[in-house]
Amino acid sequence: MRALAELYAALDETTRTSEKVAALARYFAAAPPADAAWALYFLSGRKPRQVIGSRRLSEWAIDAAGVPAWLFGECYDAVGDLAETVALLLADTPSAVAAGEPASLSFWIEERLLPLREADEATQRAAVLQAWSELDQPRRFLWNKLITGGFRVGVSQRLVVRALAQVSGVEDTVIAHRLMGDWAPSADWYRGLFVSQRADADVSRPYPFFLAHSLEDDPASLGTLEEWQAEWKWDGIRAQLIRRAGQSFLWSRGEELITERFPELAEAAARLPDGTVLDGEVLPFRDGVVLPFGQLQRRIGRKQLTRKILAEVPVALFAYDLLEVEGRDLRGAPLRERRARLEQILDSGDDAIRISPLVSGSTWDELAAARERSREVNAEGLMLKRRASPYRVGRVRGDWWKWKVAPYTVDAVLIYARRGSGKRASLYTDYTFGVWAGDTLVPFARAYSGLTDAEIREVDAFVRRNTVEQFGPVRTVRPELVFELAFEGLQPSTRHKAGIAVRFPRILRWRRDKPPREADTLEIVRAMLREG
């Protein structure tokens, strides 16, 4: 576990990509396969569910450190992160400092952590206290993060893959593919990442998704229109549909298997030729029309898929790429060829699995005009894809662009703030904004992102100086700061005070020029709802 703690610190201490990759490569070159497997498990964003809740962890730490609860609270307030507070609060025992060869990561996870899931509270408590006494501060921190299910490393999958490729000499697209889907971390699994051919290839395994960047420049900067293909930028669930060995699998971009959520797609997939993998968007689709995303959300929110909801919100997969055909990886072929093959496969026009139509235009201006009509078809804009491009891994610039229509914007007033999480845990970075309804500000959107670090510090200082009420983690502040918020969509909601739910709210800029009284009203926001 010491090596992982060191890796964690090394990743934490640099913003340079090359150094992050070097630190990862150093780790993987030295780690025993069983440990490396677990490290990969965490580095790829997977985490074992929380074993110990924060309340218990706090109570046990208070006991172990022999401090009163108020003093623990003061410490937490200074640190802003529970796992870190507990790790810092406890003194290193002489044995923890002197411990020579530390037990392996896999030992700590498999023998010490996982058994706690089934244990009763007294056993858990004894085990956690014992672990604290055996570990020094950096490892205690890591252990606390692991048992509370909060272990997160600020490193992208791309860099992890690059490091593994560096260490093993295996191509990064192969490794990226093998890291997808469902797998259990073990030494054998880890070794399997690097073998040249795998007979036991998992039939359900998806390919890594190719992600687009936002187009900020004039599209004419992309060159001649002939090189590009335009499609609608849908507002649904990005998904990969796999048909192999007589089975169907639907994966979300979050690498979640969602086949069972969409029985109509599973059924339609059975009619695809074996060895086919499609990339596309799951959309609510009824009577030949794509419905707003809010409809799909209604369906996702249900625990039970009733006949009624299935009838009200049927879905379709709008496929726009073909990654595998006849069991062969087609990602290296140019888009124009993949598109032609996709059209052959989907020519039957099956209702539930459809081809996502191209948007035509003979000039960039014509496409720009088409883009302005996106909302009419419940799309968010256009996708521009280079016809000659292969299907790449991850978010790579240059071949795929999202060219979205301008978002909705509203000027709103900061009314509540709470601390952020992770690297911003000690700062107030999670804000709730209100718009005017008569003389009161109605909370209407919550946003975390969009400010610079300097602005964040400034708002943090404002929050601390202008708190009028503190309730749990939430501070109510004097309504003085105005921000311009952008969001992707609006829908009526009975669960929100303003009667409106906002999609993807983010902060565009701080309107220092605007007094709070000039922020927008709920009426204005409601009018947008009708337009949308």
């Binding site: 150094e19 003093l71 003061e74 410490c75 992160d81 507070t85 690297k423 700062l427």
Partner: protein
Amino acid sequence: MTETLLHLTPRGLYCPPGDFFIDPWQPVSRAVITHAHSDHARPGMRAYLTTHEGQAVLRGRLGPDAAIQTLAYGEPLGLNGVELSLYPAGHMLGAAQVRVAYRGEVWVVSGDYKTETDPTCAPFEPVRCHTFVTEATFGLPIYRWRPQAEVLAAIHTWWRANQDAGRASLLFGYALGKAQRLLAGLDPAIGPIFCHGAVERFNGIYRAAGIALPPTAYTGAATREVDWSRALIIAPPSAQASAWMRRFGEVSTAFASGWMRIRGARRRRGVDRGFVLSDHADWPGLLGAIAATGAERVWVTHGYSAVLARWLTEQGLDARPITTPFEGEQGAATGEEE
């Protein structure tokens, strides 16, 4: 309430029978100075009293015209029946705790102190008293220091790794005290050591006082041929993100401070590395020092004074926080959470 031997006035901590102030923040006629940091040693006093060891640094701070009288550590001075003496605080060169005895009652004002030994100053010496005025810059139990040797070894490792990566090592630390303590522990065999002008000025004063520091060079006097990627440069935190930094090319930055114990504090500082090294006592240091005085009454200043006072009260002491403009380790000035 009867008047106490020392009490807080708008100008500072005052001793009426002896008619002197300790670390006053407004002009007074007689100021006893615990140490030369700017929040404790302010200009404009008619007369200053400090230790022999602390005189040169204090003069460096106040200029040639200041009237400075000195005492040896432990040497008593009588003032209208009050016996005043100074004892090592272990904070920096010449730093003192002030002992005030009057009609059998003893007060000790700690100034800033640390309990770990430091090659650049006399080690902290506990002094028995009835009332102890302590600092509490790091008065939270999350603040626990690792031994200095361990921190220095980590700095050396960082320096070597930077050399291998071909970039300069830029280490920020308080220009007076912290910088010299770092220097005294650095291994000059690894590479050349340079100092910012603000640091180099105090290096000279330390060397003149007989403190052994490795050879250093002033960054401003460096020629164009200097290979900065071999060098370690010590600078005050105020030099961070300034144009001054550009001359070194690619750098790795680090900050040596007790605040670096918390990851969020390092991130907010915007440095690559944080080395947890403080010239103030950590939590166990504070509790140990307070216990060693045998004091029944404790006044607490700096930083987490309310927290430490409450803790001491719960332990059965008569403790209370007092408000002073002392900053501790660049606490308020850097926007760290107080």
